[in-house]
């Protein structure tokens, strides 16, 4: 068995520690978040922290690191209350990861990283045209996480756009068919292979 305690982790050099800790939660979602500033500049950034929060209302969250450096995604969401979440699929990995570069404010990651902006009805922020599963979000609340000054950004789904009919008979989307990828650590991208769907564990089925 290999063992590290809290002090061993803290004593590691920064980069190996960041890589290690980032891989400990397990697989993470892979999304591009699109925003537009009030003066019309678009922004796109890769996030591995988008999570499900609830289905009625339909809420998703993501983690925003402390705003100690310019964070255009955060600034635009704070100012406009709107953003898009777009699944990353297998063919988009290199371009999606490239959005993590620190581009100047006047450069849009859409053009710098070869994504096409797509607009839907009167919803202001851009969707990623190439993505297959995308959502228009309205900011509901920003929740501070005191222990490390991050923010949990909570938003409600306003629009759900699917490039194909990915719904399975039970209502869920077939993410394999959409080729949505998963992330581990900071930078490791994976496709998935469906193993099995498990039935709801009813009270009756408990083998007591």
């Amino acid at each position: 068995m290999h063992y590290l305690n809290k002090d061993d982790l803290q004593a590691m050099e920064r980069l190996p520690r960041v890589n290690l800790i980032n891989s400990l939660s397990g697989y993470k979602s892979a999304n591009l978040i699109g925003t537009k500033s009030n003066d019309g500049k678009t922004n796109l950034a890769v996030f591995s922290s988008v999570i499900h929060l609830g289905s009625s209302p339909a809420l998703l969250g993501f983690i925003m690191r402390p705003p100690v450096v310019p964070r255009h995604t955060y600034d635009n969401i704070s100012a406009t209350k709107l953003y898009t979440i777009n699944h990353i699929h297998t063919e988009q990995i290199a371009n999606a990861h490239q959005t993590s570069g620190k581009y100047p404010e006047d450069i849009s990651e859409f053009s710098a990283c070869d994504f096409k902006e797509e607009y839907f009805e009167d919803f202001a922020p851009p969707f990623v045209s190439e993505s297959r599963i995308k959502m228009g979000m309205r900011l509901v609340e920003e929740i501070p996480i005191p222990s490390n000054d991050c923010l949990l950004i909570v938003g409600e789904i306003q629009h759900l756009l699917l490039s194909d009919d990915y719904q399975k008979p039970n209502g869920s989307l077939d993410l394999n068919q959409a080729e949505t990828v998963a992330i581990s650590g900071l930078d490791s991208y994976h496709s998935t292979q469906h193993l099995r769907d498990m039935p709801y564990v009813s009270k009756k089925s408990l083998e007591l």
Copy 2:
């Protein structure tokens, strides 16, 4: 293109809606959370909401639904401030999913679902012996999410136990080698296939 707006989502029947919304964030982590009550009863429950929050200190979070029904995991964490997070690997899927059944308080999911308790030094809650990547956690804070009365439970890693040396040269763990699985929706389990690791996008590398 297939399209649903906020009202379409809200108008869906409960189960298809829950299944659909749960699949929209993308792939989710697959973990078993182990706890022990102050009077020595152990509990084990599958969670797909464990997320990375920060690496210094090493913080993981997970979402706890509103405590309107008995939630033994929550009660034990509140009372003891300690818990374990254990990755689910491919061979554990059926037993891990079975822990989502509503077992009475005096039945431990460890025995009901065929997992072996493992104890490390003087850390009170049980680890899952069969898991390959497992962490002993100390509760740091419970953060209310006002928009749907869920809680974000934040904990710091105290112990990291690995059944093998899964560390890659950059420090991150090779989750493919550990056969850690990913979840989509409520009940769909997937193995992964590594596609590529992307380099850090340096300022220099920006193609402006």
